[in-house]
């Protein structure tokens, strides 16, 4: 699994490539912790067009941080989830709690 980071003033983007499972989710956890400890972009964009698979370990990383995002008023957006991954978000009910978009245009529409 590969993570790529892009830091801009207001949007911090983490791109995920590959499978997010009990082996690889540890590095995602570290990446999000680093984001929270660093410069304060108000939006965390998870770029997921190359995310092939997610298990509870990956979902659990996001779930563990949701309250902190809310208290720090950080916007969390998922971009480009494929149908299989989106289905898993729906099974767990996470799609009701986070913003999921399909295009960069939709991301721009959300940003202030």
């Amino acid at each position: 699994m590969k993570l790529s980071i892009k830091e801009q003033k207001e949007v911090y983007t983490i791109s995920i490539e590959g499978d997010l499972d009990a082996s690889s989710s540890i590095s995602l956890d570290k990446a999000i912790a680093e984001f929270l400890n660093g410069e304060k972009a108000s939006t965390l964009l998870m770029e997921c067009s190359s995310l092939n698979y997610i298990s509870s370990a990956g979902l659990g990383v996001f779930i563990a941080y949701l309250q902190e995002f809310e208290s720090k008023k950080i916007r969390l957006i998922f971009l480009g989830l494929n149908d299989k991954v989106k289905n898993i978000f729906q099974i767990v009910g996470l799609d009701q709690l986070v913003k999921i978009v399909n295009s960069e245009e939709e991301v721009q529409d959300i940003l202030p």
């Binding site: 499978d19 499972d21 009990a22 082996s23 956890d29 698979y53 298990s55 509870s56 370990a57 979902l59 659990g60 990383v61 779930i63 563990a64 941080y65 949701l66 309250q67 902190e68 149908d83 299989k84 289905n87 898993i88 099974i91 767990v92 009910g93 996470l94 709690l97």
Partner: protein
């Protein structure tokens, strides 16, 4: 038709287990989304066994058996570690509770329960068996 795979108890084995299950399920008439759900359910059980029951011990292993029956596919996952929970009395957590508690764990079995039609856990002196199945017709 039966399929069998033996995996060392390391987190890195999970990808190989998923590939094994995906290959076996190609013989079934299932959609990509259904295949992914079943792969996920097996992954969740195996991850719990590897991480919690066997504490990622590279000397330990788990065995995954797949059997296609008339109307369902049955997975039997066998290990020799400590049973990591008493499934007979298990209540899945609510997602909202997990979020409030900021917990990362507890989600795996919730997912298995939502995806699979039947879940059974048998603990014997010499081994533990998770039996999970899904109707495919």
């Amino acid at each position: 038709m039966n399929y069998y795979y033996k995996a060392v108890c390391s987190r890195e084995s999970l990808k190989q287990i998923r590939e094994f299950v995906k290959t076996a399920l190609q013989d079934f008439s299932l959609t990509e989304i259904a295949i992914n759900q079943i792969i996920l359910a097996v992954d969740e059980v195996c991850a719990n066994l590897i991480i919690h029951a066997n504490r990622c011990n590279p000397q330990a292993y788990i065995e995954v058996n797949i059997e296609k029956q008339q109307e369902e596919v049955v997975f039997e996952i066998v290990d020799k570690g400590l049973p990591f929970l008493d499934y007979t009395n298990y209540q899945s957590p609510e997602l909202t509770n997990l979020i409030q508690q900021g917990k990362k764990g507890g989600l795996g079995l919730l997912i298995v329960q939502k995806i699979m039609d039947h879940i059974e856990f048998v603990s014997k002196p010499e081994e533990n068996i998770w039996r999970i199945s899904k109707k495919i017709i």
